[in-house]
Symmetry: C2
Subunit: 306 residues, 2 copies
């Protein structure tokens, strides 16, 4: 299969949907969040970060998981886009001066550099909230079962919240400037980025009607996928190209941050990433030929340059 | 009826539930958010603001509305507590230095004064996210219909987000230090506080199985209830007692903030508040004797001293 073409086509569908969900004036479409009354500067700030591009990896994982049970991308689009909104809100808040204090994101000034801290904080809050509105609207998609949708809402909230992504960000802050041992590093990444990857896969599967053993297989895939992703991030921070990354490189070393490369060396980290990709692909065995998209996506994680 | 006793008893139920939902170690209770793995400082920061007291007015409105259809408080407790979590997150974020920069809330130092800006921001994010987890868990309460729960999630997200409460906070910031005309003042309050009161009532009613005309009646009640509440807030900022308010008084005047008192004078504002309470009570006509709790709650809004 041509993964690049597959990813481009899916990312375009996601971009179109994200634009549609946050554009006023198409009231014939009942499947969209309430937009009436949103202060223009707030909607602009939300869209500034939401439509800034990116690979749309989390929505892709929702769609790829749902596809295992024969659902087309359109059938899970609200859930897929909700994931991207949650991811985007987390980037806006992580970039704030009181957090990582970053100026550049996806090649452009960060949200608070453009709109100020107050509006940036609120744009993040609004994206997180709209994500749950979209998750609820998933139940209006023909064929969606409301009991699956409530399960998806619970899964997503648990993954994005204090016991997941937000907790990971707190631990990341607590270990800043300390030398986090590898186990702690893994824990931070499993929470901070892994939880959302896992939720993407689980929610796609839940909407598709997956059984418990199938969800467990996707959990194993997600575990290895997430770690491979993070290790490759650490590798790219050393060897990456600013233009392809859309953000500064070498920042981990400058901040003396504990990373997989600082612990295991460049080649050691690369080897670990390769092993995680192989383990992720093995976890797909129960799906046979149907698992080929997810297998290719795992390989992409370490082949990517940005 | 003895409203004070009713309110105390309900607030106690809410406080117990909020404590239970955020306390580890009672795993027999499936009806609670995922707590395992939450960094202790984050859970502490969340509980610091969540369990700081307050009248629990929003949960009370959920319960009072649900009661119109015969539901006991226990039957809507996850939804009632979710409202309080959303309200609490909004207070934490509003108090941040980049927003209103407040040091005191409910008689204690604000969240960021105790835990720092980064953890306070994340504690707010986590409370907002946990609110949606609780809303989803509402579907596990015996007798809850999942299609009503997905509707509640959509209602709550719309009310709390960019087209509701968050939008109101943005407009409040935009009009800061400008002399907002009365229409704009009303708009800010309807978004910033009114939207959540309205959602509380609507969601209690939806869980109870209300029909559209009944929800419309509660919308009218909510409109007047919310404005009476805000006007009384403005009145109390002039005549209130610091000890009973748990926050500084006179801050509106010091900041030359446009308020109902600055526009209409103290007696003018009081008269408007009384008229809104009467209109709120009139809106309850379709419920007859069943509406007495909500009628008393509307009266409480202007009788309160904090």
């Amino acid at each position: 299969m041509d993964l690049a073409q597959y990813m481009d086509q899916r990312a375009r569908l996601v971009n179109e949907a994200l634009d549609r969900y946050t554009s006023a004036g198409r009231e014939e479409d009942c499947l969209k969040p309430v937009l009436e009354g949103i202060p223009p500067v707030l909607l602009e700030a939300m869209r500034y970060s939401l439509l800034a591009g990116g690979k749309r990896l989390r929505p892709l994982l929702v769609m790829a998981a749902a596809e295992l049970w024969g659902l087309t991308p359109e059938k899970v689009m609200p859930t897929a886009c909700a994931l991207e909104m949650i991811h985007t809100y987390s980037l806006i808040h992580d970039d704030l001066p009181c957090m990582d204090d970053d100026d550049l994101r996806r090649g452009r000034p960060t949200n608070h550099k453009v709109y100020g801290e107050a509006v940036a904080t609120l744009a993040g809050d609004a994206l997180l909230t709209m994500a749950f509105e979209l998750l609820a609207l998933q139940s209006r998609v023909e064929g969606s079962l409301p009991e699956r949708v409530t399960r998806v809402v619970a899964e997503m909230a648990a993954a994005a919240g204090a016991a997941g992504m937000v907790g990971g960000q707190v631990e990341d802050l607590l270990w800043e400037e300390k030398d986090a041992p590898p186990e702690q590093l893994e824990r931070i990444h499993l929470l901070k980025t892994g939880a959302l990857f896992r939720a993407a896969l689980r929610c796609g599967a839940i909407l598709g009607g997956a059984a418990a053993p199938e969800i467990a297989a996707l959990d194993r895939y997600a575990y290895h996928f997430g770690l491979a992703f993070q290790i490759q991030d650490d590798v790219l921070d050393v060897v990456g190209d600013v233009a392809k990354m859309g953000k500064a490189v070498g920042s981990d070393a400058r901040q003396s941050k504990s990373t997989y490369v600082s612990h295991f060396g460049l080649e050691g980290a690369r080897q670990m990433a390769r092993e995680h990709v192989a383990a992720a692909q093995e976890a797909l065995a129960p799906f046979g030929e149907r698992g080929r998209v997810l297998a290719a996506l795992a390989q992409f994680v370490i082949d990517r340059e940005g």
